[in-house]
Amino acid sequence: MLELHGISRSFGDRLVLDDVSFTVGRGRLTGFVGGNGAGKTTTMRIILGVLAPHAGQVTIDGAPVVGGQRARFGYMPEERGLYPKMQLVEHLTYLARLHGFDKQGATTRAEALVERLGLTARAKDPVESLSLGNQQRAQVAAALVHDPEILVLDEPFSGLDPLAVEVVQGVLAERAAQGAPVLFSSHQLDVVERLCDDLVIIAGGEVRATGTREELRTRYGTARHEIVADGDMGWLRDVPQVRVDELAGGSAVFEAPQDVAQHVLTAALARGPVHAFTPLRPTLAEIFRDVVADEPDLEEVAR
């Protein structure tokens, strides 16, 4: 597993990362979430060794990462970069060969990946002629073509249409299932929510929260329920310990401890038929808002 221990880094006199520590477990898809300038990209570049930390270290299974090991990382940088004039399959083949695959093996791998990502029709096109979404897929392919043992992807889903998100998501889940630790950052909280097992929330260069998705939900979420009944739900406002968030005729969303919620349900049933009673789980967006609420103004993107 990949671990960060007390990573700090500043640019000039600006502290961009302050004592960042977290773990990316094997076989776990870990979402890395934070606002612009929170330090996501800097963290990822440090993991890759593209940037040196001023304090702390990165370890794999307890041992510090050494240069050669990083060849087994799959990396997708923040700014998308492939040679614009090279043909897609050729480009992927080249990258695989640089990692030590022979020409035949590299070509097979590149072609399989292109097919898996739905780019077969574009296989022979120069990278620059691909649409933005397809270039993004190509970039994912570039990170995967050498069958990396650890994946570090900066915004792999940005600019993808829902279908493409699905495809990339599937590919990443596959890699995780094969035992690779996968760390990816994203602004699309709904995607992160759907896909990841673990979460790391970073703001202002500090890790604000880590844990599994469920842990974070119970820790930061408030217990809310939605109820839909025949009669008007206005009476709900008078029930002690209940805070009504929304109310529209027969349907209401309210916040209350578990036992009080059950009591509300019984009371509602006593008044007439109830069509729905649903516990509302906090969305990642809500958790994120809670966690980073006290963050000062977002700074410019740090590199």
Partner: protein, 371 residues
């Protein structure tokens, strides 16, 4: 958890460099601009030599030849010669010196009993007309080299400069593009920076050398076809030396171009950092154009690593260099290549991943670790 196939062994430094070089070559050879510019260059060289030979040939449509009356019978009237009668040898020589005639036939020793007098060369048509080759007295043999000397030295300088600037700029552009698009981050996760730099230098040097060798081959071919064998024997060896020197000299410049370009992150910023490299590339050309008759400057040029690829072949062509001089100069060039590449690798390794503002050379060379 699925079993994962064993990871491939990472390529060795040399193998990685070859892979990078292969990509540099194939991706450039395939571009239309490269093919077109190479074709234009070769056709241009061919045309220049052929046209100049045609012009030289036409000059003596009817070569005026002075003939001393006493030997007039010895000279047959042939097409291409306009015979002018003169009273004696002195008058004939005066006519030659004045440029009124290209050559003069005067009484002399030898089986024919005549001699040919000319300034720098006797018209071929006259020599052919005489049944046996007469003795030729040249009044100003040094001038023979004048024009040719200038053209050949100029050609060496020009070919070197054009080729080095062209491929040097390509190296610089590729380096910055890799940095700008961040593909360098992906590449460096696979291979060390040294391999990347070595491959880049190797690939572009191979292309530059190939192009230069093609120019040399076309020149030789054109000289043979146009029948300028005498010129060919004069420049044959210097051309071979030129190609050899070019190979090393270009590697030297390529390292400088790559290291310079790695200091900046955007194409727009390359102009400033490349200036020193550009001057190093253009200097030999200007020196050879302005000082091609100054032996001291040429000698210095032929040993200074950055100008030796032009200076030494020129001196060899002029016959001013002893046989061991090119070898010595080549050794100096090779040694400086090693030193410059070591420096370039250091600069490249430490600056290629630094994005944003221009990186200072002194800072990179001083810094203990990559930032």
């Amino acid at each position: 958890m699925n079993a994962r196939p064993p990871a491939p062994t990472p390529p060795s430094l040399g193998r990685a460099a070859l892979l990078v070089a292969e990509r540099e070559v194939t991706s450039q050879v395939r571009t239309r601009s490269f093919l077109v510019s190479t074709a234009i260059l070769l056709v241009g060289v061919l045309a220049a030599i052929v046209v100049s030979s045609l012009l030289a040939g036409r000059e003596g449509d009817d070569a005026p030849v002075a003939v001393v009356a006493s030997v007039a019978g010895q000279v047959p009237t042939t097409d291409g010669m306009a015979l002018v009668d003169v009273p004696d040898a002195d008058a004939a020589e005066q006519a030659v010196r004045a440029g009124d005639v290209d050559a003069a036939v005067v009484p002399g020793s030898g089986p024919l009993g005549v001699e040919v007098v000319a300034m720098d060369s006797a018209p071929q048509v006259l020599l052919d007309a005489l049944t046996e080759r007469p003795e030729v007295v040249l009044l100003d043999p040094a001038a023979a080299e004048g024009g040719v000397r200038y053209i050949v030295t100029f050609a060496f300088g020009l070919v070197f400069m054009m080729s080095a600037i062209g491929f040097g700029a390509t190296i610089a552009q590729n380096t910055v593009t890799e940095k700008q698009t961040r593909i360098v981050e992906i590449l460096l996760s696979a291979v060390p920076a040294r391999a990347l730099l070595a491959g880049k230098i190797l690939g572009n040097s191979a292309l530059a050398l190939g192009q230069t060798a093609a120019i040399a081959a076309v020149s030789v071919l054109a000289l043979v076809v146009t029948g300028q064998d005498d010129l060919l024997t004069m420049i044959g060896m210097p051309v071979v030396w030129f190609v050899v020197f070019f190979a090393l000299g270009f590697v030297l410049l390529a390292a400088v171009f790559a290291a310079s370009a790695s200091l900046v992150s955007r194409i727009e910023d390359t102009g400033v950092v490349l200036q020193p490299a550009m001057w190093l590339t253009m200097l030999p050309y200007f020196l050879v154009v302005f000082f091609n008759d100054n032996a001291a400057v040429l000698t210095a040029m032929s040993y200074v690593p950055f100008s030796a690829p032009v200076g030494m072949p020129v001196r060899l062509f002029l016959g001013e260099a002893a046989w061991w001089e090119p070898l010595l100069s080549l050794a100096v060039l090779g040694a400086s290549c090693a030193v410059v590449i070591a420096f370039a690798a250091r600069i490249y390794e430490r600056s290629v991943l630094r994005m944003g503002a221009r990186v200072k050379v002194t800072e990179v060379l001083r810094a203990g670790t990559a930032d």
